[in-house]
Symmetry: C2
Subunit: 162 residues, 2 copies
């Protein structure tokens, strides 16, 4: 099979169906492009109080940023001839009130990375910086908020066991 | 049970685990806050070529925007004393090259809404505008791109059958 070619423009869609008032209603999400998920419930209580088994827009953005960052970091490590054995990325989306804005805003994404890859610490820090600069979701969030990154190599991740 | 109170700051997190090079590796996502999803696969081919049953950061953002918009619209309709019977929201995330930017960017979200609610067309248009202004994800995307909205009342959606 040929390698996939990077096309300039990519579109992906998803569907939400909501019933009822904002406080007492609820909705269901499905992945329109891939079919990878469906029947994912969300509601106002799950969003602003306890998640209680239901997802939220903020949790989905956290998943999107974690996925995007991991792919961007894998690409930079591959470019540095050190494709990762394993990357573990957690993203935390922060929704908060902002002075002067009506309603809440996405103010921050906190990214925690643990990497197992054959690269030294100094090179790794540079690779993480490049991964952040190239990740479309880091750029999306930085346009109105902050991206905070804590990235470390796993012990035993480099060739000399450091 | 008491109504949930809107707290100023909300955090939601998710996890990604990636193995291998950018082109041939793949990752798995899970919902860290709610547990609502897990084992969701993603890869570079699914992101830039055919989705093929795997999700992508862009599809997850589409789900987040669709969910956020539906909740914001439900809130505005509830405020207008016309809580919706049903809202159907599709969001399409567009990833594209941008002149001067390294790599791709999220350039647009296209939102299509069909609403069944007891509100007249003129009032509905105003409610949709307010929903967009109040939706944190519309604001996130507008900080660096465009949000395009096509919103219609279902036939039979208003009290007079219009």
């Amino acid at each position: 099979m040929p390698e996939p070619q990077l096309v300039p423009r990519v579109e992906r869609h998803a569907e939400a169906v909501w019933h009822g008032s904002s406080a007492r209603g609820s909705g269901v999400l499905s992945a329109g492009s891939s079919g990878a998920f469906g029947g994912l419930e969300y509601s106002e209580p799950s969003r602003i109080a306890a998640p209680d088994g239901q997802t939220s827009p903020e949790e989905l953005l956290a998943a999107a940023h974690a996925a995007c960052f991991s792919m961007s970091l894998a690409a930079e490590l591959t470019r540095a001839k050190a494709p990762p054995e394993r990357l573990s990325v957690r993203a935390t989306t922060v929704l908060d009130e902002v002075p002067g804005a009506a309603g809440h805003r996405i103010v921050e994404s906190i990214v925690t990375v643990r990497a197992r890859a054959g690269v030294e610490r100094g090179a790794f820090d540079e690779v993480v910086r490049a991964a952040d600069e190239g990740c479309p979701f880091s750029n999306l969030i930085k346009a109105s908020g902050t991206v905070t990154i804590d990235a470390k190599l796993d012990e035993g991740g480099t060739a000399d066991g450091d």
